[in-house]
């Protein structure tokens, strides 16, 4: 019985991690797919979110209030950064990689100046700070369940926006064929802006809600960035559905990798990626390169 429950807990952890990854990777895959921009700094938005949650919780004393305050802040940061990205749309990937690499260094060091290099904790909101008992000595924290629920709700909203609304239609069309959409008279610049800012906000929000369980530490954006890349590659560039499936796969592979083969932990996801690419070079839901 305990073995089954232990397995269940790992599944829940893996799904929760995967869903967080999805929030970060969905913005990344859309920015790739539609704007053709490689954004290495996308992981830094996750870090910005976590540090915003930390700073605001310190100031306001409550995670919920700080979420309300931090989301508009993330929105403003996204709008400002979009200005910096605009000259890059027509440039080669190489320059995008380098500019965003420079941006990572600058953001990381700004973080170090403002918050120092210590690991910080964000308290779990009291209303959710308890566990569901599963067996005599195994239980599961409710806050983690809430993270999964919040991510799922956002994923559902994202799905509705992209599949049912007019702007969603423009986004899907943009990912399929940018030039054609432009010729049809849709303001692609506007679509870019919306997608970019939405990506920043989603990544920052993931960082905010993850802060109480993942803690807030230097370099936290880089680890999630590279995993998000893997998600985007496995799922297929520009595909939200692909990002969702791949994020869950990666979340589970990473969680079980650490349990089954601790010496090779961290490698599992890359091996999985290599295997998928051998089988389908454009990712699970990609349309070819």
């Amino acid at each position: 019985m305990d073995a089954i429950v232990f397995f269940l807990i790992q599944v829940l952890n893996g799904v929760q991690y995967g869903l967080l990854l999805f929030l970060v990777a969905s913005g990344l895959t859309l920015v790739f797919g539609i704007m053709g921009v490689v954004n290495l700094a996308h992981g830094s938005f996750y870090m910005v979110g976590a540090y915003l949650a930390y700073a605001l919780t310190q100031a306001l004393g409550n995670l919920w209030l700080s979420l309300v305050a931090a989301v508009p802040l993330a929105l403003i940061i996204g709008l400002l950064l979009e200005l910096l990205f605009r000259p890059l749309y027509r440039r080669d990937h190489l320059y995008q990689v380098l500019l965003t690499y420079g941006l990572i260094l600058a953001l990381e060091e700004t973080r170090s100046l403002l918050f120092g290099d210590d690991v910080h904790g964000v308290p779990i909101p009291p209303a959710l700070d308890f566990s569901v008992p599963l067996t005599a000595d195994l239980s599961y924290p409710v806050y983690r369940l809430w993270i999964s629920a919040a991510c799922l709700a956002l994923a559902g909203a994202l799905y509705l926006v992209i599949s049912k609304t007019r702007i969603g239609m423009a986004i899907r069309a943009g990912a399929a064929n940018r030039e054609m959409v432009q010729l049809l008279g849709i303001d692609v610049g506007m679509v870019f802006r919306i997608v970019f800012v939405a990506g920043v906000v989603l990544a920052a929000f993931a960082g905010m809600i993850a802060a109480p369980v993942a803690t807030v530490y230097p370099g936290m954006g880089n680890a999630i960035l590279i995993l998000s890349f893997v998600v985007v590659v496995i799922g297929g560039i520009g595909s939200i559905k692909g990002a969702f499936v791949a994020a869950l796969l990666i979340g589970l592979a990473d969680t079980f990798g650490q349990v089954v083969a601790p010496d090779f932990a961290g490698m599992t996801v890359y091996v999985l990626m290599a295997a998928v690419l051998l089988w389908r070079p454009a990712g699970l839901f990609g349309r070819g390169t």
Binding site: F32, L94, L98, G102, V230, G266, M273, A282, T289
Partner: protein, 315 residues
């Protein structure tokens, strides 16, 4: 690739002569830093073969740099120095084999996928190195002895001496430049450059472009392994950061800052970027902030790098 213009040739010769004679009149203190820069130049030139000539933007070139470094660590026993002439070929072969395996997988993709897949592979090696005790785990491992260059009892140079190491690094940099120059002037080099311009046309002419790209990838990997071998020998240590994405970004920055698609560009870039890093890191603990802003400015304002500036100054 075209022969560099007269002024660039003169500049390179003058630079080479200055570096050759530097130890005779310059500060001994700078020998180690300059040797480090010259090894970075070797590393950057090998990456430029991919980025600037074959059009393959790799963010995972550190994979082979790291393999070269870790190979020296594994081949050096705790009892005494390893033989350079035995271990260097093994390290280069290891880097080349890694490049064949990774190349076979990553060269199936292109564009954005290629950037991300190369990054993912070097990341895989990074976590592998962290997880393995025999590789030293996350702290890395020391290499207590620099390799000895004994050849049947004859020792042409001694890497223990900073001065000898310096000249060896200079010879490696000049040698890499000449080797890549010859390769790029050959028919093979012309095909590689043509692949960057229009791969589809070459393929339809019946040229096996995948094979050309793979050979190119392996040459670049082996040269990166060469740089990694000597870099680990210089500092007597290897750690997972040899595979890290930060080094991968730094070497890519060297190529762009110097000017990709030229062989002297990466050399100029290595001197410019490493010297800048060195002076900034002395000036402030938070040197990465101005560094990051400098990179952003350089990308926006100097798309053709220092080599492009030289061309513009001439014209």
């Amino acid at each position: 690739m075209p022969v560099p213009s007269r002024s660039v040739r003169l500049l390179l010769l003058a630079g080479f002569a200055t570096l050759l004679l530097f130890p005779l009149f310059g500060e001994r203190f700078y020998l180690q830093l300059l040797a480090h820069i010259m090894l970075m130049a070797v590393f950057a030139m090998s990456l430029d073969l991919l980025v600037g000539f074959a059009g393959l933007v790799s963010l995972g070139h550190t994979a082979f740099f790291g393999v070269g470094g870790y190979a020296l660590m594994l081949l050096t026993s705790s009892a005494g120095p390893a033989n350079l002439w035995l271990t260097l070929p093994v390290a280069l072969a290891a880097a080349a084999v890694a490049a064949v395996i990774i190349g076979l997988l990553v060269l199936r993709s292109s564009g954005v996928y290629f950037i991300m897949v190369t990054l993912a592979f070097t990341q895989m090696l990074y976590y592998f190195a962290i997880g393995q005790k025999w590789l030293g785990g996350s702290d890395g491992a020391y290499i207590n002895f620099k390799p000895r260059a004994a050849l049947f009892g004859f020792v042409p140079f001694d890497l223990q001496k900073p001065l000898h190491f310096y000249w060896v690094a200079l010879a490696l940099m000049a040698g890499t430049y000449l080797l890549l120059f010859v390769i790029l002037r050959s028919l093979f080099g012309r095909v590689v450059c043509a692949i960057r311009s229009n791969e589809g046309r070459l393929a339809s002419l019946g040229i096996p472009t995948f094979r050309y790209k793979l050979v190119c990838f392996v040459i670049a990997g082996a040269l990166a392994g060469l740089a990694g071998y000597f870099a680990s020998a210089q500092y007597g240590v290897v750690n997972p950061d040899f595979f890290g994405w930060r080094l991968a970004g730094e070497v890519l920055m060297i190529v762009i800052l110097g000017g990709m698609g030229t062989l002297h560009g990466p050399i100029l870039g290595a001197f410019a970027l490493v010297l800048l890093e060195d002076s900034l890191s002395v000036a402030s603990k938070h040197w990465l902030l101005p560094m990051g802003l400098f990179i952003i400015a350089a990308v926006l304002l100097l798309p053709k790098g220092i080599a492009g500036l030289l061309e513009r100054a001439r014209a």
